[in-house]
Structure formats: structure tokens, C-alpha cells
């Protein structure tokens, strides 16, 4: 059998999370196809064909794919599902939205957020906010999987030369329509793909202070900006900056946590980072239990000083 990866894309380019998912797919089955369901998505399909390790790209075009509606994309996946042993989605907002719909229609259990492939039917996944790792065995004929992108290296975006097959579009029933979106424009690296992340917590006290203190450090380091749930709930930072069990799962080279106490839900989102730096006034803060380098200091002194000294 072959593995099918559902590409996440913006119709022009393939999103980074797809590359990590392809690496997981290769671990399940050496032969990997990629599905690009989009609207005017020829460029995305062409980009998918360049990815190393991909043997075929399936390209389906329909206006209802433009915004990746779950009902439409799931219908397209189901139209080709029977040819595949594994169907993998990145565990992003989009993949998590669509994958269970596909699994239920196929009457198979879905394996969520895998962090490791042990064999073609056995996978590891974190449970209880990352406080335990479960090894699960699937006996279903088609394995529907979402992939924790930080658990796998990205496949090379170039070097491949897959054939592109055009599919007839199979779409949903139109009971769901896209109205609009507010996507924050940002020149910064994407949070889940960033090499360096600076992250702020409730101790920043206000949105103005958050911007004033954390952004210059991020600029200096070329880093993405993250936030704890407390900072997001208090309105200091937008919610798509949230790092944690219910936000983004990140694993950068360097994670700098300022004014974050380190609740287990936050740690679940960042404890696989290579080097963790914690800056906190409270020497008892749980964040110091996972940090490689801890500095007990007022972040309003330490972060600007750090920014200046770099």
C-alpha cells in the first residue's frame, strides 16, 4: 500500500507542516503520495511535486477547496482513500479539523498527534498534556493519522520530481460556507517553524508592555513571539501566539520564557525545545524545573538588558 499526505497550503505554496508530515509518512510506508485540494492551486501542486520522497501528487481543483472547508476536503480525501494504507494530516488547526471526519466516514479509529512511528501500525503519542507517552497499535485497514510536526524533521522541499495527476473534484454538500478571515500579517517566522522563540507571560502586565519588552528581543534574535495562555486570556497577546497543550506545540533551538511560571499545559507545548531559558522573579516557578538556564530576575530589567547586550 501507499501513504497519502494531505498537503496544507495557501493555494500558492505548501506550508511547512506538510514537510514534517511527509517524513512521518515515509516512516509508515516508503511510497508517498500528496493530495493538494485547492482553488487555483497549480503552484502549490507544482511545489508539492518538488518535495523529496514524494512519488505522486494528486491535484484537485474546486472553489470550495479555497479555504480548506472540512466538509469539502474530507469528501475529496474519501474519494481516493481506498487506494491507501495510511492517510496522514499535519496536526495543525486544519489537519485536526478534517482528519476525524475522514476517519469516521471510513469507520476507522484515528491516531492523533503522533510523535513517533514505531512500525507501520504502531505509533507513539503524548497524552495528558504530554505527561505520558502512549504506544498505540492500530488494526484498522486504513490508518488515519495526524502528525505532531515537531516530532519529525521536515522533508527537503526540493530534489523530488513527482508526477502530477489531476483528479475530478469531489466536494461536500455546500452546507458550510466561508465568510471571512482575520489572519494577522507578520514578517516574523511562523511560530511552529521558528528556530528561536521568545515567549511572554502574565507578568508582563499589559499588551503595551508585552510589545515594548518582548518585541525588541524577538527582532534582535529574528525570533517568533509566543505567549502563555494567561497572557493571551488577559489580552496581552493574540491567541494564535499561545504555546501549550491547547495552543501551538513548538520545539525550537532556543526558547526564552519570560514571566511564565510554567504550568503543565504550557510545558506540554514547549518542553521538547533544544535549549530553554527561563527568566522569572520567583525562584520556585516550575519553569525552572525544565529550563537549561534559569535567571531569577525582574523581566522588566533582564529582558531589555538582554536585548541591549546581544
Amino acid at each position: 500500500m501507499t501513504a497519502l499526505v494531505i498537503a496544507e497550503h495557501d493555494n500558492a505554496t505548501i506550508k511547512g507542516a506538510t514537510l514534517n508530515t511527509i517524513t512521518a509518512a515515509i516512516a509508515c510506508d516508503g511510497d508517498v503520495h500528496v493530495l493538494v485540494a485547492g482553488h487555483n492551486a497549480g503552484a502549490a501542486a507544482a511545489a508539492a511535486a518538488q518535495i523529496a520522497g514524494v512519488s505522486k501528487v494528486l491535484h484537485a481543483e474546486d472553489a470550495s477547496f479555497e479555504h480548506g472547508l472540512a466538509e469539502s476536503v474530507a469528501a475529496q480525501v474519501l474519494a481516493v482513500a481506498s487506494s491507501y494504507g495510511h492517510i496522514l494530516f499535519p496536526a495543525t488547526a486544519s489537519g485536526k479539523n478534517i482528519a476525524p471526519r475522514v476517519a469516521a466516514k471510513l469507520d476507522v479509529a484515528q491516531v492523533s498527534d503522533i510523535s513517533k512511528v514505531d512500525s507501520s501500525d504502531t505509533f507513539e503519542r503524548p497524552i495528558y498534556a504530554g505527561n505520558a507517552i502512549a504506544t498505540v497499535h492500530s488494526t484498522d485497514a486504513i490508518k488515519v493519522i495526524t502528525v505532531r510536526t515537531t516530532g519529525f524533521d521536515p522533508a527537503a522541499a526540493t530534489g523530488g520530481s513527482a508526477a502530477i495527476d489531476t483528479l475530478a473534484a469531489a466536494t461536500g454538500d455546500g452546507k458550510s460556507t466561508f465568510i471571512g478571515s482575520e489572519i494577522a500579517a507578520s514578517d516574523r517566522p511562523e511560530l511552529t517553524a521558528a528556530k528561536v522563540i521568545v515567549s511572554g507571560g502574565r507578568a508582563l502586565g499589559s499588551g503595551e508592555k508585552f510589545t515594548q519588552v518582548m518585541i525588541p528581543l524577538a527582532d534582535k534574535l529574528g525570533a517568533a513571539v509566543g505567549a502563555s495562555r494567561a497572557a493571551v486570556d488577559a489580552g496581552y497577546a493574540p491567541n494564535d501566539w499561545q504555546v501549550g497543550q491547547t495552543g501551538k506545540i513548538v520545539a525550537p533551538q532556543l526558547y526564552i520564557a519570560a514571566g511564565i511560571s510554567g504550568a503543565i499545559q504550557h510545558l506540554a507545548g514547549m518542553k521538547d525545545s533544544k535549549v530553554i531559558v527561563a527568566i522569572n522573579k520567583d525562584p520556585e516557578a516550575p519553569i525552572f524545573g525544565v529550563s537549561d538556564y534559569g535567571l531569577v530576575a525582574d523581566l522588566f530589567d533582564a529582558v531589555p538588558e538582554l536585548t541591549k547586550s546581544l
Binding site: 472540512a70 488547526a93 504506544t135 484498522d140 454538500d173 518542553k271
Partner: protein
């Protein structure tokens, strides 16, 4: 219109769970259990829709062991009108729960099902989407704002990079994100009132659903521990460590 709100009994989110030494699972004996936090948000949203006059009845549902009745009582103390328990001692996985809920949809004919986006024990994030698929209903996951107008739900969703708004035709499934609302505290008079509300009980067999687990958990282990780090005296020492020891700064 009628709303169904599935709620799950899970280990309280403040509890630091321990993995059993024999690797069979997480030790949940004598651990505090509560309603899954996302489900509290779902109940709150359903009750708010009733308070706005859009919804006439809110039914809370839980699947699992008999103690799930406590979780249902909490939902009724928040404001659910009545409750249904699907009682079984079998380990329930999302697909089985979705099938049980589909059977209840057929019985109760609700216009809307509001679920939490994920349970904090198995972290699956599947049940709502699976239910929508089985019922052939549209879905709006990770909702942070819900309005119901003219037979449609207008839902703003939290997606990577920002927000997105969808219109979905009812009947439909919505799953809640954290920022949809702030669940109210349950008051003692409401807890007393909740005791008088009805809880209907079904067995999975009565609903015609096979709940046998489809995924087998081979083992559960603790995550790899991080080696304990060092404390540095000041910013200069921190920069020195990052440059010369960790080599993560150029």
C-alpha cells in the same frame, strides 16, 4: 430548538498525573475527577443561547462509568435542563463516543450539538468532527464566537495565524475553544436544583452501538526527563552560556 452537549469526566486539570510503574496506563485511582474544561465552556454556551431565547432545551450527555452522573449533575447545575448517561465500563474511544452520540441524535433530534474541542486526558480532538461526519452535518471546530440566525450558525473559529468565520446550516456540530466564554460558577441553590432534574440511562447495546476499542494501547511511559539545568547570576552570564556552552547564539 434543542441543543445536545456531551460532557466528559476527566482527571482534574490541576492534578499532575503519574504513569503506572507497570506501563499499563496513568494512575487515576483516588485522583480528583472533574468535567473536562472545554465541555464546561460548551455547557455555558448552550445555556447562554437558551438565556437569549434561541434555544429551548439543553440536554447534557456523558458516556462512561456510573460516576459520570456527577459530571452530568455539574452540567445541570450550570443550567442544562436534563441529562442522559450512556453507561459502560468499557474504555471508550472517540469513534465509539461519536457513534453513541449519533444514536442519541437520532432519538432526540437536536438542532445543534456543542462539544469541547478536546478532552484533556486523551488529547484526541476527534469526537465532534467524527459525530458531524456520521450525522452528515456541517461542523465548526475551535469556536471562539457563535451566533445563531435564520437556521444558520455563524461561527468564528481559531485557526493557525488568526481567526476565520464560517456559516453552517443547522443542524450542525460546534466544538468550543478556550476563549468562547467564561463558564459561570455553580451556586449551591443550583446544585440543589440539579439534583431534582432527570438523568436517563442507556446501555450502548440499547443504542445498537458496538463500543469495542479499535486502538490498542500497548504501553504508557513517562516522557524523557530533561536533565536539570543551571541557574545563572545575571544577563551577562546567560549570554555567555548561550554563546559558548549551548552555542545557540552566534
Amino acid at each position: 430548538m434543542k441543543v445536545l452537549v456531551p460532557v466528559k469526566r476527566v482527571v482534574d486539570y490541576n492534578v499532575k498525573v503519574r504513569v503506572k510503574s507497570d506501563g499499563t496506563g496513568v494512575d487515576i485511582a483516588n485522583v480528583k475527577m472533574s468535567m473536562n474544561p472545554f465541555d464546561e465552556i460548551a455547557v455555558e454556551e448552550a445555556v447562554r443561547l437558551r438565556e437569549k431565547g434561541i434555544v429551548t432545551e439543553v440536554i447534557a450527555v456523558s458516556c462512561g462509568v456510573s460516576q459520570c452522573t456527577e459530571t452530568l449533575r455539574t452540567a445541570m447545575a450550570i443550567g442544562a435542563d436534563r441529562a442522559i448517561l450512556v453507561e459502560t465500563d468499557v474504555e471508550l474511544q472517540p469513534l465509539a463516543v461519536a457513534k453513541l452520540l449519533k444514536a442519541l441524535i437520532d432519538k432526540e433530534q437536536p438542532d445543534l450539538v456543542i462539544l469541547g474541542k478536546q478532552a484533556i486526558d486523551d488529547d484526541s480532538n476527534q469526537t465532534g468532527q467524527m459525530l458531524a461526519a456520521l450525522a452528515d452535518w456541517p461542523q465548526a471546530t475551535f469556536a471562539n464566537k457563535v451566533e445563531v440566525v435564520d437556521g444558520k450558525a455563524i461561527v468564528t473559529r481559531e485557526v493557525d495565524g488568526g481567526l476565520e468565520t464560517l456559516a453552517i446550516t443547522l443542524p450542525a456540530v460546534i466544538t468550543t475553544d478556550l476563549r468562547l466564554n467564561e463558564p459561570r460558577y455553580v451556586t449551591l441553590p443550583n446544585i440543589m436544583k440539579a439534583k431534582k432534574k432527570t438523568v436517563d440511562t442507556y446501555k450502548p447495546e440499547e443504542l445498537g452501538v458496538d463500543v469495542t476499542p479499535r486502538l490498542k494501547t500497548l504501553k504508557v511511559v513517562e516522557p524523557a526527563k530533561r536533565s536539570s539545568g543551571v541557574m545563572v547570576a545575571d544577563v551577562a552570564a546567560l549570554i555567555d552560556k548561550l554563546k559558548n556552552e549551548a552555542k545557540v547564539l552566534g
